[in-house]
Assembly symmetry: D2
Homo-oligomer: 336 residues x 4
């Protein structure tokens, strides 16, 4: 199969404004570094730096922040020619306070944002048939028209033999009802080959009660979700995907296969600086291994390495490791 792109990453993007005053409470922040972020966009850069041919299907506004995002992606070599501008809509922004080890208050500016305006026509203009993987994300399902465009893209991918990866990307404040997240994700799972998420996100995908979700310190990217993880895993896999890849930060990654097999991949211990973006680095490394045809464990180890590297750094897309760097990192820690 000869396709021009290894991966087409569909969904949100933003300017990431990350506190330069590490450890300072949010109200005392003096300046923010300016990066690029957003789950699928991070993965487009992460995979690109690992040598894959990545294309982006995000959307930006007709504003300098949109220029900022596109300029960065272009510099990285991520293909942006399929990224539409949405007049009258703002490019998303995110602000982040950084108080390690456990306080990372995060504020989304996503009201009427550009990337949620992705349409079925935008999907039809994108190279779905010419990509090995389509990556979609949970937040892309949160509102119309992005929701039906995302489902449509997954359907098309299926029909075209393009593998569909879903990053669960659970951001509670982007949903009108916590339970609607799970309802919607479940309605998409039949179109997905591989699901990537944390155990909290897996529980969110099978959530029954609103009260099961709690967010502390405005850490929207790290909601706690009550629930039975075993049942959640079973529910997700019963809906169709071949695998559920459960990343776990400092702990081991576990891959749950539809056939019942469970594969563990130990972590690379590092000191946490900023957890944001680590999950997307993981996904990038995992996808790299997947496309190399590696086994689940080895691919997950590659993911773990990429995640471990980013967790020691300040931001997301701008700090994704390069192929050589990741392989050396693993080598230095005893190899795969």
């Amino acid at each position: 199969m000869n396709r021009s792109y290894d991966i087409l990453c569909m969904g949100r993007s933003c300017i990431d404004l990350y506190s330069n005053d590490i450890g300072a409470p949010f109200v005392e922040i003096k300046s923010f570094a300016a990066y690029v972020g957003g789950c699928p966009t991070n993965i487009s850069v992460g995979t690109r730096r690992l040598g894959l041919r990545s294309a982006s299907l995000t959307a930006v506004g007709n504003d300098p922040v949109g220029d900022f995002v596109l300029n960065f992606l272009n510099q990285e070599g991520v293909v942006t020619e399929f990224v539409p501008r949405k007049p009258g809509r703002r490019t998303s922004a995110v602000m982040l306070g950084i108080e390690p080890p456990d306080k990372f208050p995060l504020i989304y500016y996503r009201d009427n944002c550009a990337d949620i305006e992705l349409t079925i026509d935008d999907v039809l203009a994108a190279p779905l048939a010419d990509s090995h993987i389509l990556l979609i994300s949970g937040t892309g399902l949160s509102r119309e028209p992005s929701r039906s465009a995302t489902l449509f893209a997954a359907e098309q991918a299926r029909a075209l033999g393009t593998k569909v990866f879903l990053d669960l990307d659970f951001r509670p404040d982007q949903w009108h009802d916590m339970r609607a997240y799970g309802v919607t994700v479940r309605s998409a799972l039949g179109l997905v080959d591989i699901v990537i998420g944390t155990s909290e996100e897996t529980k969110a995908a099978t959530l029954k009660e609103q009260s099961s979700v709690s967010v502390e310190h405005s850490q929207v990217s790290d909601a706690h979700v009550a629930g039975d993880i075993r049942q959640a895993i079973a529910t997700v896999l019963a809906a169709g995907p071949e695998a559920l890849v459960m990343k776990a930060g400092a702990e081991q990654t576990t891959v749950f296969l539809r056939n019942g097999e469970v594969i563990a991949a130990p972590p690379f211990p590092v000191e946490v600086y900023n957890t944001l973006g680590a999950g997307d680095a993981f996904a990038s490394g995992f996808i790299y291994g997947y496309l190399k045809g590696w086994d689940w464990r080895r691919a997950a180890r590659m993911g773990n390495a990429c995640g471990a590297i980013v967790v020691t750094r300040h931001g997301c897309a701008n700090f994704m490791p390069y192929e050589e760097e990741a392989l050396v990192f693993i080598e230095e820690r005893g190899g795969f």
Copy 2:
């Protein structure tokens, strides 16, 4: 299985305002009869008149039109205790011109309407576990929060052994993108046991191009959809339902089973007066037969009879036939 309700009908309701000046162009209408309508609500009344125990899960506003709808349902014996009032939202209304045989301009007043505000909490308060059938409709999937509430209800029904019927109910002007209808319906089909719809609606459910849909004379309830009906049927059934029941107005009903079987049920020829509501009468009759444990053909013939009766009448819910009446109608025309 001992359940209190035969059927719980979820979704839209409205005051139906139907031209009393049959044959008059819309601009010359002098008065409108006031009935009750809306696909699931029609079916709640239609099944009730056939002797089933029906409950409604629609929603109405805090206005006299809401009183009008509830008053009628109560008179009919449809259980309305699970119907929420939605403050600040208007009970839906529909106006209809009647120019037989083929011009029925229809105008929906559904902007910010009450029934699209059905929530997951409303579903949790409804007797899903205590009903044999849950009936949902395509329009209930058109907007949030009704969309996730409808999907949630279907999931719950599945888990509870309650059969899920989906009336395709394609109303193009209720969607931001014609193709989003199909995308959304397809994402729900895995939760559905039996699909009811016309061939146009079946094609809409598998629509690939916006331009395939055309609406003439504002007949939103009777859009024409281009496409390959064989492929559409195959796509619908491949997504999970046991059967696709294709009603066809004056022509025969055809039931397509997942196992490849195709069952035809001939129509009862009558003179068309107003086609609106006939499809919901059909569904009522079909569901009646289904719950009696009849075979597909006999159930569909019962549906055809009910549809034929209503097509000779002025409105929808208010004109649904009673059990005796329908059985006599069939008897007089040579029986099942």
Copy 3:
């Protein structure tokens, strides 16, 4: 001053659906007569029937209800060439129950309606310079873009020597905050020559507390407003208008002039059948007299006669009296 139109009526229009079952509670209504209504549109027809050259600046949707409204106006001879169609917006509708003498529940279907989409460009395309009077209404100020378009029209009218009449047209459910009605009306009064309203509406225009407004039996067109009427009159007149014409249904009309003068015009006693539209008939008659150059009392008596005639009839625009009819009515009752 040689102008083509006597009056340009700007603002809402609708299909009026009025109960044919006089005295029946709303839930028992069997049919509704279909008329045309909406304060400024009623006045366009009312003045036209009295022989004035009237033009409409309402807006309708691209739907059969829009055709219905325009068809009626065209038949009446009201000029509709300046009325824009608003794609994607619905022509307004109103339903009314009629239980004389005092219960007239009224339901507005105005969510996202066409006439609130009137823009400054629509105003620029209208013959403001070629009309003797511009009539605007309170509801036209309730939401954007109609609000700024209405203010803009009044400004232009002022600059062009076109007299500005404001019908207070207080409809509480069209405002996000009862007090915003008064705030907004007061901000417009500096552009108005003559204000027409009831004492309740005058109090609403100077409202200080939300709780001062009460609506019974869904009678949105007849809200009760607590407050000091003397102070309300003083406040309105201090803001600029030359006159406040206070219509009072069965009681006498009173004209309050900026210069302190107060003129009373006795009513014509009749039996009340349906009060809706009577106020607009009054306005039509008053404007007729105003343009004839009559004194305040005589103009108000003409208004009273027109109002009295309509109050004995079923609907609004469709029941406005003709010039001859109104003059004979007055003659028969002892003259002006």
Copy 4:
């Protein structure tokens, strides 16, 4: 008159994110300094630093950015006890690129923001009767409910003998129609004592054509407006205000009085670093002089000094000069 506050500043607030990479194109910015901004909020801080007793009537979201804004205001000694939190709404944010001398691209994140949710109830809870001055701004009139709340506040102030200052604050992208800005401002001018604005803003307030406004380099805070400035001044003053104070950056300030008098106040020449906030510094200095009872020229000179100081600095609120500092600045340049 013994009042607790010198000034109550009503309207927008935000986190100001200002490029730390002076001269860099927006796409190359590495970090942003975090300040507080928003016209009325800048003036609350500017006046406070000059020794006045200032209170804020802005609104913030229930988020860390809201904490950031309030924390800063509290540190400055601006009274924030009347500032409501608006759940579900985001505290406004602004990003700014800085390329002196003439390119300052600015991006507002104001969709569904907290400060436009100010209500009449918020106004009723604020100390209007206990303040010498109420400052309102043009952007506060851009959308409901802030618009009617702002008009209501001005009305109340008038009734209470509180002087009303209006900063024209023209931000074209906050309006659905450029001309609606002027329409709305003009409808408020009858309630205003003193208007502060640039010549561009004055022309915007009397704008007749959309095409008259042009924005370059996303400089929303510095739109160019075509039009006749003399006529614009006359129109503004004819609507009621006692004075129009026209600030002019590097050029002289001119005060136009209703009585026809024109007073010029020469500028203090400085090198421009960042023009943002300079206008609000001017307003602060001017208001300081006004409350001291100084003549127009002396008050405007004080304003010029404060503006000149801020134009040499990086941000807005955080860089407002203190009383001593401003007076010394003037002294060193030859005095008033």
